[in-house]
């Protein structure tokens, strides 16, 4: 009895580690630094708290949807069942755009944390080696076991809370600076909440990862809720520690605020601890992220949803059944984008666009849940019992936040705005063509 209870808790912890591990990344600390720089202590707590509350509601909605369609590839299935194939495809393409955006920022912050003094050439070399090593591990079918993922995540949580506790106990860098921030405005609130969403991005990737039907009904939905709560507490503590312990000038100059905080508090050992934090965060994100992204690309290729030629190439399998071309394509895309990010200084802007677009995806998830709640469910599982109107409000709020976040980044950068518009037009066109092709295929007489 006791051992089965222990097994149950261990299983739940494993799913929480997967869910939260996908969200927490080295780049999360960059975003926390940006938030700490642009907000007063109270305003920082408010934007983080609001984003956490919205993600918590979303976790409840996603818990219900994942329990209704257990093991299904989240965005593709939920939106398809709630709306139609075209909408689902369009937002799946948006998700595919966000994956390399997040990977760029992640690699950039990781290198800034690990090799702060290194030149661009060395950083490019390390990024290339890192991406190639991950691709090679995937091609050889070497996946990080789940208990290792759990252990690494636990270490990350301990380190993060440890540094936060030290930062919060440290003498205040400047009481005036800590209390100060730009004048409060709705736009600033929207932008802050949108950027805070970036910190939670990916927690829902655990939804299709249930290993048993029972886990899909209870452990996985609960793991998302617990992961969001844990992440909220972790980020709040770390954000307040950054704001309180570091002078604004040091925070502004830092590309890896957690390393700056560690060094400021403990000298070299603090720097090493923060670098370990980056490494653990990168491992937990990339392990699950690359696998999930490969499956997403391969799944779309199998549906012929990436254009006929690209789909035919991407659905290639190695003799051992590994989607080798999808792995190589993702590795190449990550590599090229990482080199572009290292060469320039776009990490904060890219994080902003990624956060805004993902918030839009979350808004659509909330809308899908509203629609699905109106349809009959033959096998109800996890039930959050939150009134459906709350999710409607969440969808509207998240759309506004997404708009404010993306606009705040691209309003002064016409090229970025143009690129986003071009992507939206291309994704709309492709989703329309693919959905139409499927409809025509379905209408053909079968023999």
């Amino acid at each position: 009895m006791a051992s089965s209870r222990t097994e149950k808790w261990t299983e739940l912890l494993g799913y929480v580690a997967l869910s939260a591990g996908m969200a927490v990344a080295a780049s999360s600390y960059l975003v926390l630094g940006l938030l700490a720089r642009g907000h007063s202590l109270g305003s920082l707590a408010l934007v983080l708290g609001l984003a956490c509350a919205m993600c918590l509601l979303l976790a409840l909605a996603l818990g219900e949807m994942s329990s209704r369609f257990p093991s299904a590839p989240g965005i593709r299935t939920y939106l398809r069942r709630a709306f139609d194939d075209r909408t689902s495809l369009f937002f799946t393409y948006v998700m595919m755009l966000i994956i390399p955006l997040v990977a760029w920022v992640e690699i950039k912050v990781f290198l800034a944390a690990l090799l702060p003094q290194a030149g661009a050439a060395l950083q490019c070399l390390v990024a290339a080696l890192l991406v190639l090593a991950l691709a090679w591990l995937n091609l050889r079918e070497h996946h990080v076991p789940r208990h290792v993922q759990t252990l690494v995540f636990c270490l990350l949580v301990v380190l993060s809370f440890g540094l936060s506790a030290l930062g919060l106990q440290a003498p205040v860098a400047s009481a005036a600076e800590a209390a100060a921030g730009p004048a409060f405005s709705l736009a600033m609130l929207g932008e802050g909440v949108g950027l805070s969403f970036f910190l939670f991005v990916g927690f829902e990737w655990v939804a299709p990862m249930a290993r048993t039907p029972a886990a899909a009904r209870q452990a996985v939905p609960w793991s998302m809720v617990l992961a969001v709560l844990l992440l909220g507490a972790m980020y709040l503590a770390f954000g307040l520690a950054l704001k309180q312990a570091l002078p604004a000038a040091r925070l502004a100059a830092s590309a890896a605020p957690h390393v700056t905080l560690g060094e400021h508090l403990l000298g070299a050992p603090g720097r090493w601890a923060a670098q370990a934090l980056s490494l653990f965060a990168l491992l937990t994100t990339l392990n699950a992220g690359l696998l999930g992204a490969t499956r997403l690309v391969y799944g779309l290729a199998r549906e012929q949803a990436l254009g006929p030629r690209a789909s035919a190439w991407l659905r290639n399998l190695s003799p051992r059944g590994v989607p080798s071309h999808a792995v190589l394509a993702l590795a190449l895309a990550s590599l090229l984008s990482a080199l572009w990010v290292i060469a320039g200084n776009h990490a904060a802007a890219v994080a902003g666009v990624g956060a805004g677009l993902y918030t839009l995806v979350y808004a659509v998830f909330a809308a899908a849940h509203v629609r699905l709640r109106q349809l009959p469910n033959p096998w109800p599982g996890f039930q959050a019992r939150v009134p459906v109107a709350v999710y409607g409000l969440l969808a509207v709020l998240a759309t506004c936040v997404a708009g404010a976040t993306v606009l705040s980044v691209v309003q002064d950068q016409p090229l970025a705005m143009l690129a986003l518009l071009a992507f939206a037009v291309a994704a709309l066109g492709l989703s329309h063509r693919v959905a139409q092709g499927k409809q025509m295929q379905a209408a053909l007489p079968t023999h």
Partner: protein, 116 residues
């Protein structure tokens, strides 16, 4: 013999006679638990030594289990090769509980056998 069992047997024979499947599943030895949601019938398909070894209705001692669940009609159509497993999975009508490596193997088997 139920239509589902017939379809499973047909799938087993087809997989074992396909030249690429043995290489594809080399070293991969799970027991695939096939659950019909509406009738409650369960079949266990053992994979062993590069072959779909046996189908039984008895439970399995294997520690490496992967579950496939759907209504009996959906499962029968899938294993008979009449409907596309990728579409059923995408649609949420087929549930697969396994780790990533097992998911990829199953997708690869269906692609090799049925080209979909």
């Amino acid at each position: 013999m139920t239509p589902l069992l017939q379809a499973l047997e047909q799938f087993r024979q087809q997989a074992n006679s396909h030249p690429r499947i043995a290489t594809l599943i080399k070293g991969w030895e799970p027991t695939i638990v096939v659950d019909a949601l509406d009738t409650g019938v369960t079949h266990y398909l053992s994979v062993h030594a590069g072959r779909m070894a046996s189908i039984s209705e008895q439970g399995s001692d294997s520690r490496h289990l992967l579950h496939m669940r759907a209504t009996e009609a959906v499962l029968t159509a899938l294993f008979a090769g009449r409907s596309n497993p990728a579409s059923a999975f995408l649609d949420g009508s087929l549930e697969v509980f396994a780790d990533d490596k097992d998911h990829v193997k199953l997708e690869a088997i269906s692609l090799v056998l049925w080209g979909a």
